[in-house]
Symmetry: C2
Subunit: 247 residues, 2 copies
Protein backbone atom coordinates (compact mmCIF):
# COMPACT_ATOMS: atom_id res chain seq x y z
CA UNK A 1 0.00 0.00 0.00
CA UNK A 2 1.58 3.24 -1.17
CA UNK A 3 1.22 6.22 1.13
CA UNK A 4 2.47 8.70 -1.46
CA UNK A 5 -0.16 11.19 -2.56
CA UNK A 6 -0.18 11.93 -6.27
CA UNK A 7 -2.46 14.73 -7.39
CA UNK A 8 -3.89 16.04 -10.63
CA UNK A 9 -6.03 18.77 -12.10
CA UNK A 10 -7.94 18.96 -15.35
CA UNK A 11 -8.46 21.93 -17.65
CA UNK A 12 -11.36 21.62 -20.08
CA UNK A 13 -10.95 24.10 -22.93
CA UNK A 14 -13.82 25.23 -25.10
CA UNK A 15 -16.41 27.97 -25.55
CA UNK A 16 -18.96 25.33 -26.50
CA UNK A 17 -19.03 23.93 -22.96
CA UNK A 18 -19.48 27.35 -21.33
CA UNK A 19 -22.22 28.38 -23.77
CA UNK A 20 -24.15 25.20 -23.00
CA UNK A 21 -24.05 24.05 -26.61
CA UNK A 22 -22.08 20.92 -25.74
CA UNK A 23 -22.21 18.79 -22.61
CA UNK A 24 -18.74 18.16 -21.21
CA UNK A 25 -17.88 14.49 -21.65
CA UNK A 26 -14.30 13.86 -20.50
CA UNK A 27 -14.04 14.97 -16.87
CA UNK A 28 -16.05 12.09 -15.43
CA UNK A 29 -14.00 9.56 -17.38
CA UNK A 30 -10.72 11.12 -16.26
CA UNK A 31 -11.91 11.23 -12.64
CA UNK A 32 -12.78 7.54 -12.66
CA UNK A 33 -9.57 6.47 -14.36
CA UNK A 34 -7.30 8.53 -12.10
CA UNK A 35 -9.09 7.41 -8.93
CA UNK A 36 -8.74 3.83 -10.12
CA UNK A 37 -4.95 4.03 -10.39
CA UNK A 38 -4.31 6.06 -7.25
CA UNK A 39 -4.11 9.65 -8.49
CA UNK A 40 -6.26 12.22 -6.66
CA UNK A 41 -8.03 14.56 -9.06
CA UNK A 42 -8.22 17.74 -6.97
CA UNK A 43 -9.65 20.35 -9.28
CA UNK A 44 -11.30 20.78 -12.67
CA UNK A 45 -11.47 24.08 -14.49
CA UNK A 46 -13.47 24.81 -17.61
CA UNK A 47 -12.22 27.83 -19.56
CA UNK A 48 -13.13 29.24 -22.96
CA UNK A 49 -11.08 29.46 -26.14
CA UNK A 50 -9.19 32.34 -24.56
CA UNK A 51 -5.40 32.35 -24.54
CA UNK A 52 -4.97 34.33 -21.30
CA UNK A 53 -7.46 32.12 -19.45
CA UNK A 54 -5.72 28.94 -20.60
CA UNK A 55 -2.27 30.29 -19.69
CA UNK A 56 -3.42 31.26 -16.21
CA UNK A 57 -5.05 27.91 -15.53
CA UNK A 58 -2.04 25.96 -16.81
CA UNK A 59 0.45 27.94 -14.75
CA UNK A 60 -1.54 27.87 -11.52
CA UNK A 61 -2.40 24.20 -11.72
CA UNK A 62 0.92 22.80 -12.98
CA UNK A 63 2.64 24.42 -10.01
CA UNK A 64 0.10 23.01 -7.58
CA UNK A 65 -0.46 19.42 -8.65
CA UNK A 66 1.64 16.46 -9.77
CA UNK A 67 -0.09 16.32 -13.16
CA UNK A 68 -2.34 18.46 -15.31
CA UNK A 69 -4.52 17.09 -18.09
CA UNK A 70 -6.14 19.35 -20.67
CA UNK A 71 -8.90 18.45 -23.11
CA UNK A 72 -9.85 20.32 -26.24
CA UNK A 73 -8.49 22.91 -28.63
CA UNK A 74 -5.84 20.92 -30.48
CA UNK A 75 -7.56 20.60 -33.86
CA UNK A 76 -6.75 22.32 -37.16
CA UNK A 77 -9.04 25.38 -37.00
CA UNK A 78 -8.38 28.95 -35.89
CA UNK A 79 -10.23 28.44 -32.58
CA UNK A 80 -7.85 25.63 -31.58
CA UNK A 81 -5.34 27.60 -29.55
CA UNK A 82 -4.34 25.13 -26.83
CA UNK A 83 -0.84 24.35 -28.16
CA UNK A 84 -0.01 28.04 -28.47
CA UNK A 85 -1.45 28.85 -25.04
CA UNK A 86 0.37 25.97 -23.32
CA UNK A 87 3.60 26.95 -25.07
CA UNK A 88 3.13 30.52 -23.88
CA UNK A 89 2.45 29.28 -20.33
CA UNK A 90 5.84 27.57 -20.38
CA UNK A 91 7.55 30.44 -22.21
CA UNK A 92 8.41 28.06 -25.04
CA UNK A 93 8.18 28.53 -28.82
CA UNK A 94 5.58 26.40 -30.57
CA UNK A 95 6.84 24.82 -33.77
CA UNK A 96 6.01 21.89 -36.04
CA UNK A 97 7.41 18.67 -34.61
CA UNK A 98 9.28 16.64 -37.27
CA UNK A 99 7.91 13.30 -36.07
CA UNK A 100 4.35 14.67 -35.96
CA UNK A 101 4.76 16.14 -39.44
CA UNK A 102 6.02 12.79 -40.73
CA UNK A 103 3.11 10.88 -39.17
CA UNK A 104 0.54 13.32 -40.53
CA UNK A 105 2.16 13.47 -43.97
CA UNK A 106 1.96 9.68 -44.15
CA UNK A 107 -1.60 9.62 -42.76
CA UNK A 108 -2.99 12.01 -45.37
CA UNK A 109 -0.94 10.47 -48.19
CA UNK A 110 -2.41 7.04 -47.41
CA UNK A 111 -5.88 8.52 -47.51
CA UNK A 112 -5.19 10.45 -50.70
CA UNK A 113 -5.97 13.71 -48.93
CA UNK A 114 -4.13 16.98 -49.14
CA UNK A 115 -1.91 17.82 -46.14
CA UNK A 116 -3.35 21.32 -45.87
CA UNK A 117 -1.92 24.24 -43.93
CA UNK A 118 -4.72 23.74 -41.40
CA UNK A 119 -3.75 20.10 -40.91
CA UNK A 120 -0.09 21.11 -40.51
CA UNK A 121 -1.15 23.16 -37.49
CA UNK A 122 -1.83 19.89 -35.67
CA UNK A 123 1.89 19.05 -35.77
CA UNK A 124 2.79 22.15 -33.77
CA UNK A 125 3.90 21.58 -30.17
CA UNK A 126 5.93 23.52 -27.62
CA UNK A 127 9.69 22.97 -27.96
CA UNK A 128 10.75 19.82 -26.13
CA UNK A 129 7.26 18.33 -25.90
CA UNK A 130 6.85 14.57 -26.08
CA UNK A 131 4.13 13.40 -28.48
CA UNK A 132 1.12 11.43 -27.22
CA UNK A 133 -0.07 8.89 -29.75
CA UNK A 134 -3.55 9.25 -31.22
CA UNK A 135 -4.62 5.88 -32.62
CA UNK A 136 -7.96 7.27 -33.82
CA UNK A 137 -7.08 10.19 -36.10
CA UNK A 138 -3.26 10.37 -35.91
CA UNK A 139 -2.94 14.05 -34.90
CA UNK A 140 -1.01 13.71 -31.62
CA UNK A 141 -1.42 15.18 -28.17
CA UNK A 142 1.68 16.09 -26.23
CA UNK A 143 3.29 16.19 -22.82
CA UNK A 144 5.25 19.25 -21.76
CA UNK A 145 6.54 19.44 -18.21
CA UNK A 146 3.77 17.83 -16.15
CA UNK A 147 0.98 18.94 -18.51
CA UNK A 148 -0.69 16.35 -20.73
CA UNK A 149 -2.46 18.00 -23.65
CA UNK A 150 -5.21 15.73 -24.97
CA UNK A 151 -7.96 16.04 -27.58
CA UNK A 152 -11.51 17.02 -26.71
CA UNK A 153 -13.33 14.43 -28.84
CA UNK A 154 -14.14 11.77 -26.21
CA UNK A 155 -12.98 8.72 -28.19
CA UNK A 156 -9.63 10.39 -28.84
CA UNK A 157 -9.32 11.78 -25.30
CA UNK A 158 -9.84 8.29 -23.89
CA UNK A 159 -7.37 6.66 -26.29
CA UNK A 160 -4.71 9.26 -25.52
CA UNK A 161 -5.30 8.83 -21.79
CA UNK A 162 -4.88 5.07 -22.15
CA UNK A 163 -1.57 5.74 -23.85
CA UNK A 164 -0.17 7.98 -21.12
CA UNK A 165 -1.53 6.05 -18.14
CA UNK A 166 1.37 3.55 -17.90
CA UNK A 167 3.83 6.45 -17.66
CA UNK A 168 2.18 8.12 -14.66
CA UNK A 169 3.44 7.86 -11.12
CA UNK A 170 0.61 6.63 -8.94
CA UNK A 171 0.12 6.84 -5.22
CA UNK A 172 -2.18 6.05 -2.39
CA UNK A 173 -5.27 4.40 -3.71
CA UNK A 174 -8.38 5.20 -1.73
CA UNK A 175 -10.52 2.18 -1.02
CA UNK A 176 -14.18 2.99 -1.06
CA UNK A 177 -17.44 1.42 -0.01
CA UNK A 178 -20.93 2.78 0.15
CA UNK A 179 -23.93 2.08 2.33
CA UNK A 180 -27.49 2.80 1.33
CA UNK A 181 -29.02 4.67 4.23
CA UNK A 182 -32.81 4.59 4.56
CA UNK A 183 -32.86 7.74 6.70
CA UNK A 184 -32.65 11.30 5.44
CA UNK A 185 -29.52 13.30 6.08
CA UNK A 186 -31.28 15.34 8.75
CA UNK A 187 -31.57 12.19 10.87
CA UNK A 188 -28.04 10.84 10.41
CA UNK A 189 -26.24 14.18 10.27
CA UNK A 190 -25.15 14.46 13.90
CA UNK A 191 -24.13 10.82 14.54
CA UNK A 192 -22.39 10.61 11.15
CA UNK A 193 -20.39 13.73 11.98
CA UNK A 194 -19.36 12.11 15.26
CA UNK A 195 -18.19 8.99 13.41
CA UNK A 196 -16.18 11.16 11.00
CA UNK A 197 -14.54 12.90 13.97
CA UNK A 198 -13.57 9.51 15.44
CA UNK A 199 -12.03 8.34 12.15
CA UNK A 200 -9.84 11.19 10.90
CA UNK A 201 -8.08 8.88 8.41
CA UNK A 202 -11.34 8.01 6.69
CA UNK A 203 -13.29 10.35 4.45
CA UNK A 204 -16.99 9.95 5.06
CA UNK A 205 -19.37 11.53 2.58
CA UNK A 206 -23.14 11.65 2.58
CA UNK A 207 -25.05 12.13 -0.65
CA UNK A 208 -28.69 13.05 -0.37
CA UNK A 209 -31.21 11.34 -2.56
CA UNK A 210 -34.73 12.59 -3.01
CA UNK A 211 -37.05 10.33 -4.98
CA UNK A 212 -40.83 10.17 -5.05
CA UNK A 213 -41.08 12.46 -2.05
CA UNK A 214 -38.81 10.24 0.03
CA UNK A 215 -35.41 11.28 1.38
CA UNK A 216 -32.61 8.81 1.76
CA UNK A 217 -28.87 9.04 1.53
CA UNK A 218 -25.88 7.19 0.19
CA UNK A 219 -23.04 7.13 2.68
CA UNK A 220 -19.61 6.68 1.11
CA UNK A 221 -16.57 5.84 3.20
CA UNK A 222 -13.09 6.13 1.71
CA UNK A 223 -9.71 5.33 3.23
CA UNK A 224 -6.29 4.24 2.06
CA UNK A 225 -5.96 1.65 4.85
CA UNK A 226 -8.38 -1.30 4.67
CA UNK A 227 -8.64 -1.61 8.46
CA UNK A 228 -9.53 2.09 8.76
CA UNK A 229 -12.17 1.58 6.08
CA UNK A 230 -13.62 -1.47 7.79
CA UNK A 231 -13.88 0.03 11.26
CA UNK A 232 -15.44 3.24 9.94
CA UNK A 233 -17.94 1.23 7.87
CA UNK A 234 -18.77 -0.90 10.92
CA UNK A 235 -19.43 2.23 12.97
CA UNK A 236 -21.71 3.63 10.26
CA UNK A 237 -23.63 0.34 10.07
CA UNK A 238 -23.90 0.25 13.88
CA UNK A 239 -25.28 3.79 13.87
CA UNK A 240 -27.88 2.89 11.26
CA UNK A 241 -28.89 -0.27 13.16
CA UNK A 242 -29.35 1.77 16.33
CA UNK A 243 -31.53 4.26 14.45
CA UNK A 244 -33.58 1.41 12.97
CA UNK A 245 -34.18 0.08 16.49
CA UNK A 246 -35.46 3.55 17.37
CA UNK A 247 -32.59 4.33 19.72
Amino acid sequence: MSDTIVTAAMIVIGDEILSGRTREANAHHLARVLTGVGIDLREIRVVGDDKAAIIEAVNVLRARYTYVFTSGGIGPTHDDITADAVGAAFGLPVEPDPAALAMLTDHYARRGQEFTAARRRMARVPEGAVLIDNPVTTAPGFLIGNVHVLAGVPAIFQAMLDNVLPSLRTGRKLLSDSIECPFGEGVIGAPLGAIQAEHPDAIIGSYPRYEDGRHWAEIVVRAADPSVLDTALADVRGMLDALARGE
Copy 2:
Protein backbone atom coordinates in the same frame (compact mmCIF):
# COMPACT_ATOMS: atom_id res chain seq x y z
CA MET B 1 -30.14 45.01 -28.15
CA SER B 2 -28.08 45.45 -25.00
CA ASP B 3 -24.36 45.84 -25.46
CA THR B 4 -23.57 45.42 -21.78
CA ILE B 5 -21.55 42.32 -21.01
CA VAL B 6 -22.66 40.47 -17.89
CA THR B 7 -20.42 37.60 -16.79
CA ALA B 8 -20.62 34.67 -14.45
CA ALA B 9 -18.63 31.78 -13.04
CA MET B 10 -19.72 28.54 -11.44
CA ILE B 11 -18.14 26.65 -8.57
CA VAL B 12 -19.15 23.00 -8.27
CA ILE B 13 -18.38 21.71 -4.77
CA GLY B 14 -18.03 18.05 -3.95
CA ASP B 15 -15.50 15.23 -3.54
CA GLU B 16 -17.91 12.88 -5.29
CA ILE B 17 -17.45 14.67 -8.62
CA LEU B 18 -13.65 14.62 -8.42
CA SER B 19 -13.53 10.96 -7.41
CA GLY B 20 -15.68 10.03 -10.39
CA ARG B 21 -18.40 8.53 -8.20
CA THR B 22 -20.98 11.05 -9.41
CA ARG B 23 -21.36 12.67 -12.81
CA GLU B 24 -21.72 16.42 -12.54
CA ALA B 25 -25.24 17.42 -13.52
CA ASN B 26 -25.74 21.16 -13.01
CA ALA B 27 -23.11 22.97 -15.07
CA HIS B 28 -24.67 22.24 -18.44
CA HIS B 29 -28.07 23.42 -17.23
CA LEU B 30 -26.61 26.62 -15.78
CA ALA B 31 -24.66 27.28 -18.99
CA ARG B 32 -27.78 26.96 -21.14
CA VAL B 33 -29.94 29.08 -18.86
CA LEU B 34 -27.39 31.89 -18.50
CA THR B 35 -26.65 31.95 -22.23
CA GLY B 36 -30.37 32.14 -22.88
CA VAL B 37 -30.84 35.29 -20.80
CA GLY B 38 -27.67 37.09 -21.88
CA ILE B 39 -25.15 36.25 -19.17
CA ASP B 40 -21.75 34.93 -20.32
CA LEU B 41 -20.58 31.97 -18.26
CA ARG B 42 -16.81 32.41 -18.40
CA GLU B 43 -15.42 29.76 -16.11
CA ILE B 44 -16.41 26.66 -14.17
CA ARG B 45 -14.37 25.26 -11.32
CA VAL B 46 -14.93 21.95 -9.58
CA VAL B 47 -13.39 21.74 -6.11
CA GLY B 48 -13.63 19.19 -3.34
CA ASP B 49 -15.20 19.44 0.10
CA ASP B 50 -12.20 21.49 1.19
CA LYS B 51 -12.69 24.81 2.93
CA ALA B 52 -9.50 26.47 1.67
CA ALA B 53 -10.23 25.44 -1.92
CA ILE B 54 -13.78 26.81 -1.76
CA ILE B 55 -12.64 30.08 -0.17
CA GLU B 56 -10.00 30.60 -2.84
CA ALA B 57 -12.39 29.90 -5.71
CA VAL B 58 -15.11 32.16 -4.25
CA ASN B 59 -12.75 35.07 -3.69
CA VAL B 60 -11.01 34.87 -7.06
CA LEU B 61 -14.21 34.46 -9.05
CA ARG B 62 -16.46 36.94 -7.22
CA ALA B 63 -13.89 39.66 -7.87
CA ARG B 64 -13.62 38.76 -11.53
CA TYR B 65 -17.19 38.19 -12.71
CA THR B 66 -20.58 39.84 -12.29
CA TYR B 67 -22.06 36.75 -10.65
CA VAL B 68 -20.89 33.51 -9.08
CA PHE B 69 -23.09 30.45 -8.69
CA THR B 70 -22.13 27.55 -6.45
CA SER B 71 -23.68 24.10 -6.35
CA GLY B 72 -23.41 21.56 -3.57
CA GLY B 73 -22.44 21.29 0.07
CA ILE B 74 -25.41 22.97 1.76
CA GLY B 75 -27.04 19.92 3.32
CA PRO B 76 -27.18 18.84 6.98
CA THR B 77 -24.14 16.56 7.21
CA HIS B 78 -20.59 17.23 8.39
CA ASP B 79 -19.23 17.24 4.82
CA ASP B 80 -21.54 20.13 3.86
CA ILE B 81 -19.20 23.05 4.44
CA THR B 82 -20.21 25.50 1.74
CA ALA B 83 -21.99 28.03 3.98
CA ASP B 84 -19.03 28.17 6.36
CA ALA B 85 -16.52 28.43 3.53
CA VAL B 86 -18.47 31.18 1.74
CA GLY B 87 -18.88 33.06 5.02
CA ALA B 88 -15.13 32.78 5.60
CA ALA B 89 -14.45 34.00 2.05
CA PHE B 90 -16.43 37.16 2.87
CA GLY B 91 -15.03 37.44 6.40
CA LEU B 92 -18.55 37.11 7.79
CA PRO B 93 -19.88 35.08 10.70
CA VAL B 94 -22.20 32.21 9.76
CA GLU B 95 -25.27 32.02 12.00
CA PRO B 96 -28.77 30.56 11.90
CA ASP B 97 -31.10 32.83 9.97
CA PRO B 98 -34.37 33.46 11.86
CA ALA B 99 -36.55 33.23 8.75
CA ALA B 100 -34.82 30.02 7.65
CA LEU B 101 -35.23 28.54 11.13
CA ALA B 102 -38.92 29.42 11.08
CA MET B 103 -39.46 27.86 7.65
CA LEU B 104 -37.63 24.69 8.60
CA THR B 105 -39.34 24.45 12.00
CA ASP B 106 -42.69 24.64 10.24
CA HIS B 107 -41.61 22.20 7.52
CA TYR B 108 -40.57 19.46 9.93
CA ALA B 109 -43.52 20.08 12.27
CA ARG B 110 -45.95 19.59 9.35
CA ARG B 111 -44.21 16.34 8.48
CA GLY B 112 -44.12 15.18 12.12
CA GLN B 113 -40.34 14.98 11.98
CA GLU B 114 -37.85 16.11 14.56
CA PHE B 115 -36.01 19.34 13.78
CA THR B 116 -32.65 17.81 14.55
CA ALA B 117 -29.38 19.62 15.19
CA ALA B 118 -28.23 18.45 11.74
CA ARG B 119 -31.31 19.96 10.11
CA ARG B 120 -30.72 23.23 11.99
CA ARG B 121 -27.36 23.48 10.21
CA MET B 122 -29.29 24.13 7.01
CA ALA B 123 -30.57 27.44 8.43
CA ARG B 124 -27.02 28.79 8.82
CA VAL B 125 -26.00 31.52 6.40
CA PRO B 126 -23.38 34.27 6.37
CA GLU B 127 -24.53 37.46 8.12
CA GLY B 128 -26.55 39.63 5.77
CA ALA B 129 -27.28 36.87 3.24
CA VAL B 130 -30.60 36.88 1.41
CA LEU B 131 -32.37 33.51 1.36
CA ILE B 132 -33.11 31.73 -1.93
CA ASP B 133 -36.33 29.81 -1.80
CA ASN B 134 -36.24 26.02 -2.15
CA PRO B 135 -39.69 24.82 -3.22
CA VAL B 136 -38.60 21.17 -3.23
CA THR B 137 -37.24 20.50 0.26
CA THR B 138 -37.51 23.92 2.00
CA ALA B 139 -33.86 24.23 3.15
CA PRO B 140 -32.88 27.50 1.44
CA GLY B 141 -29.94 28.61 -0.62
CA PHE B 142 -28.64 32.12 -0.18
CA LEU B 143 -27.18 35.14 -1.91
CA ILE B 144 -24.27 36.99 -0.32
CA GLY B 145 -22.61 39.77 -2.29
CA ASN B 146 -22.67 38.52 -5.87
CA VAL B 147 -22.43 34.84 -4.91
CA HIS B 148 -25.51 32.63 -5.27
CA VAL B 149 -25.20 29.52 -3.15
CA LEU B 150 -27.42 26.76 -4.54
CA ALA B 151 -28.01 23.10 -3.73
CA GLY B 152 -26.26 20.28 -5.57
CA VAL B 153 -29.28 18.01 -6.08
CA PRO B 154 -30.26 18.86 -9.67
CA ALA B 155 -34.01 19.29 -9.10
CA ILE B 156 -33.29 21.72 -6.26
CA PHE B 157 -30.47 23.49 -8.09
CA GLN B 158 -32.78 24.12 -11.02
CA ALA B 159 -35.67 25.33 -8.86
CA MET B 160 -33.40 27.72 -6.94
CA LEU B 161 -31.93 29.00 -10.21
CA ASP B 162 -35.44 29.65 -11.54
CA ASN B 163 -36.09 31.66 -8.39
CA VAL B 164 -33.05 33.90 -8.71
CA LEU B 165 -33.17 34.35 -12.47
CA PRO B 166 -35.62 37.29 -12.47
CA SER B 167 -33.30 39.21 -10.12
CA LEU B 168 -30.23 38.99 -12.35
CA ARG B 169 -28.96 41.79 -14.52
CA THR B 170 -28.63 40.51 -18.05
CA GLY B 171 -26.63 41.82 -20.95
CA ARG B 172 -25.69 41.27 -24.50
CA LYS B 173 -27.33 38.13 -25.77
CA LEU B 174 -25.29 36.26 -28.32
CA LEU B 175 -27.29 35.11 -31.29
CA SER B 176 -26.10 31.78 -32.59
CA ASP B 177 -26.54 29.63 -35.64
CA SER B 178 -24.81 26.49 -36.77
CA ILE B 179 -23.98 25.00 -40.14
CA GLU B 180 -23.35 21.33 -40.75
CA CYS B 181 -20.15 21.16 -42.71
CA PRO B 182 -19.54 18.01 -44.80
CA PHE B 183 -15.79 18.62 -44.89
CA GLY B 184 -13.31 17.77 -42.18
CA GLU B 185 -11.68 20.56 -40.20
CA GLY B 186 -8.43 20.04 -42.06
CA VAL B 187 -10.15 21.16 -45.27
CA ILE B 188 -12.00 24.19 -43.91
CA GLY B 189 -9.40 25.29 -41.38
CA ALA B 190 -7.58 27.91 -43.42
CA PRO B 191 -10.60 29.55 -45.15
CA LEU B 192 -12.61 29.50 -41.91
CA GLY B 193 -9.78 31.25 -40.11
CA ALA B 194 -9.77 33.90 -42.83
CA ILE B 195 -13.53 34.43 -42.40
CA GLN B 196 -13.05 34.78 -38.63
CA ALA B 197 -10.35 37.39 -39.24
CA GLU B 198 -12.73 39.35 -41.49
CA HIS B 199 -15.52 39.28 -38.86
CA PRO B 200 -13.92 40.26 -35.55
CA ASP B 201 -17.34 40.90 -33.97
CA ALA B 202 -18.47 37.34 -34.65
CA ILE B 203 -17.22 34.29 -32.76
CA ILE B 204 -16.78 31.40 -35.16
CA GLY B 205 -16.26 27.95 -33.68
CA SER B 206 -15.65 24.66 -35.39
CA TYR B 207 -16.48 21.39 -33.66
CA PRO B 208 -15.04 18.24 -35.16
CA ARG B 209 -17.21 15.21 -35.53
CA TYR B 210 -15.87 11.79 -36.27
CA GLU B 211 -18.44 9.11 -36.97
CA ASP B 212 -18.10 5.80 -38.79
CA GLY B 213 -14.66 6.74 -40.04
CA ARG B 214 -15.92 9.97 -41.57
CA HIS B 215 -14.83 13.45 -40.48
CA TRP B 216 -17.21 16.35 -40.62
CA ALA B 217 -17.64 19.48 -38.54
CA GLU B 218 -20.27 21.66 -37.04
CA ILE B 219 -19.55 25.33 -37.57
CA VAL B 220 -21.13 27.63 -35.01
CA VAL B 221 -21.31 31.37 -35.53
CA ARG B 222 -22.22 33.66 -32.65
CA ALA B 223 -22.66 37.42 -32.57
CA ALA B 224 -24.63 40.00 -30.61
CA ASP B 225 -25.61 41.91 -33.75
CA PRO B 226 -27.94 40.05 -36.15
CA SER B 227 -26.41 41.68 -39.24
CA VAL B 228 -22.93 40.60 -38.13
CA LEU B 229 -24.25 37.09 -37.61
CA ASP B 230 -25.91 37.00 -41.02
CA THR B 231 -22.93 38.25 -43.01
CA ALA B 232 -20.55 35.87 -41.24
CA LEU B 233 -22.94 32.96 -41.84
CA ALA B 234 -23.25 33.93 -45.50
CA ASP B 235 -19.48 33.94 -45.86
CA VAL B 236 -19.20 30.50 -44.25
CA ARG B 237 -21.89 29.14 -46.58
CA GLY B 238 -20.15 30.72 -49.57
CA MET B 239 -16.88 29.11 -48.56
CA LEU B 240 -18.54 25.68 -48.25
CA ASP B 241 -20.26 26.10 -51.63
CA ALA B 242 -16.93 26.96 -53.25
CA LEU B 243 -15.33 23.87 -51.69
CA ALA B 244 -18.24 21.73 -52.91
CA ARG B 245 -17.65 23.02 -56.44
CA GLY B 246 -14.05 21.93 -56.05
CA GLU B 247 -12.63 25.44 -56.06
